[in-house]
């Protein structure tokens, strides 16, 4: 556990969904997790598109970010699973692939940087579960979300490939459920829990993406959950804006609010809904907020 993390925001959260940043900073403060905003970070860059074009460039650009954190002597805390996979993979392959580190540093030298391999990359989920611990989270909860049923969605890039990421058991993880339980809410099981959100294929095959989103939401609805909880902004976009889109495209009628975990925890910590700016989300969580109010 580090005393202080370099907060890696990526670009999707700060530049598309800044309200996620708001709740995250709030809960980190409440949990005594110190973060610093380092200047000089760039796009991670994303593990789906950029690795596909040129793996080496992807690793170089990721290593550049790691070098920035290393210069400041800080470990990295990522809020987005995509950023997590990119940075963690870059760190892992530089340690394990023969000769790669030298080649990467050769390129980095051109901008006066070097990555020595001393930075640890951690996802918010990891930090909350392993470092802060569910007990501590629970202790900061003022308004336990008793009876609120939460369907958790891990997504892909925080769990797999498990050999590299080492966050939780890829087939039977429990960390997300634990931190949800810590808010007082009840995680519920549902079919196809590990189905990908499909953002990686959105631009190439919208129909498939829509059907992926629909199947997931169908099972979440069947489970009776009050909301779907995610830990990645892309999953949020897929299930929030995407929900709106599939209702139009496929004629469905889903109304399942999607919350980024810090939002859920913030509510449990007594933060008012207004301060969390759900107005920026497509699917309004009014019904569940009312339920929470009544608790």
């Amino acid at each position: 556990m580090s005393c202080e993390y370099a907060l890696f925001l990526g670009c999707t959260i700060p530049n598309r969904l800044p309200h996620l940043e708001v709740s995250t900073r709030m809960i980190l403060k409440n949990l005594d997790v110190n973060v610093r905003d380092l200047p000089g970070f760039a796009c991670c860059p994303d593990p789906v598109g950029f690795s596909a074009l040129d793996r080496f460039t992807w690793i170089v650009l990721a290593s550049r970010n790691l070098a920035v954190a290393e210069e400041a002597g800080l470990d990295v805390l990522t809020l987005c699973s995509g950023c997590f996979e990119t940075l963690k993979t870059a760190d892992y392959v530089l340690r394990n692939e023969n000769g790669l580190k030298e080649k990467v540093n050769e390129a980095l030298a051109k901008v006066g940087k070097e990555y020595k391999g001393t930075v640890e990359v951690r996802h918010l989920l990891q930090v909350l579960y392993e470092d802060v611990r569910p007990e501590k989270i629970e202790s900061t909860v003022e308004k336990p979300l008793k009876g609120i049923k939460v369907a958790v969605h891990y997504g892909c890039h925080v769990l797999r490939p498990s050999e590299v990421l080492q966050v939780d058991d890829p087939f039977n993880p429990t960390s997300f459920e634990s931190i949800v339980k810590a808010t007082g809410a009840t995680p519920v099981d549902y079919l196809k829990k590990f189905l990908c959100c499909g953002v990686g294929v959105r631009s190439v095959d919208e129909d498939t993406t829509n059907r992926m989103i629909e199947e997931k939401l169908r099972y979440v609805r069947m489970s009776g959950a009050d909301l779907l909880c995610v830990i990645c902004p892309f999953c949020l976009i897929q299930y929030d804006i995407g929900q709106f889109q599939i209702n139009k495209a496929l004629g469905t009628d889903y109304h399942i609010p999607v919350l980024y975990y810090p939002h859920l925890l913030a509510l449990a910590q007594g933060v008012s809904a207004d301060e969390l700016h759900f107005k920026f989300q497509r699917i309004k969580p009014d019904a569940v907020l009312e339920k929470i109010e009544k608790l």
């Binding site: 925001l9 670009c11 999707t12 700060p14 530049n15 598309r16 800044p18 309200h19 940043e21 708001v22 900073r25 905003d37 200047p39 000089g40 970070f41 760039a42 796009c43 860059p45 994303d46 593990p47 789906v48 598109g49 950029f50 690795s51 596909a52 074009l53 040129d54 793996r55 080496f56 460039t57 170089v60 650009l61 550049r64 920035v68 392959v93 692939e97 023969n98 390129a107 980095l108 051109k110 901008v111 892909c156 890039h157 797999r160 490939p161 890829p170 087939f171 590990f194 990908c196 499909g198 990686g200 294929v201 631009s203 190439v204 095959d205 129909d207 498939t208 059907r211 992926m212 700016h277």
Partner: protein, 180 residues
């Protein structure tokens, strides 16, 4: 259009097996666990990871590197995680995508994303509207990397040329790429 595939070229696979991530290619015994758990295949059987691996083993460039099929992979890594023989399916598909990109065959939206990165250092740079919203939300001003630095690196790796080298739809037709 009925096309006959090229003859088998077992040497093609060395392009993959000689990479760090592609070493495991030969271990595949075509059990179809990857396709069985693939989130894309279940909706779109045009994308079939097992078949892609088979075609890679047989060296069929037109069904792999030159095919738009490989771009349907959502890189969820479920296949790699579940493969009973430890074949890194998703990583191998990434290698195929890299080979494809080198030949200028990659989707248009990725070219746009890449160009945004080259211009701003970020795929989603902050707009004026967002900066104003951030201010209202009392969020700190984030100082990002100067895009020139990113461009220096991408120039060093040849990424900029790769991005420029994308073949248009007409050009792709001429080279006889397999259509969906």
């Amino acid at each position: 259009m009925v096309e006959t595939s090229s003859s088998i070229d077992s040497r093609f696979r060395s392009l993959i097996t000689e990479t760090h991530e592609g070493e495991t290619l030969n271990l595949c015994y075509q059990c179809s666990t990857c396709s069985g758990c693939c989130p894309v295949f279940r909706y779109n059987s045009q994308f079939n990871p097992r078949r892609i691996i088979e075609n890679t083993l047989l060296g069929k460039r037109d069904r792999t590197v030159k095919s738009p099929e490989i771009w349907l992979c959502t890189v969820c890594h479920t296949c790699t995680e579940k493969c009973p023989q430890g074949v890194k399916v998703s990583e191998i598909i990434i290698e195929l995508k890299n080979l494809s990109s080198k030949e200028g065959l990659f989707p248009a939206h990725l070219q746009e994303e890449a160009k945004a990165l080259l211009e701003f250092g970020m795929v989603s740079p902050p707009t004026k509207a967002i900066l104003s919203r951030r201010e209202k939300l009392k969020l700190p001003v984030i100082e990002n990397a100067p895009p020139e630095e990113i461009r220096t690196l991408t120039s060093a790796t040849g990424f900029d040329k790769l991005v420029e080298g994308r073949k248009s739809e007409e050009e792709t037709q001429e080279t006889g790429v397999v259509e969906e």
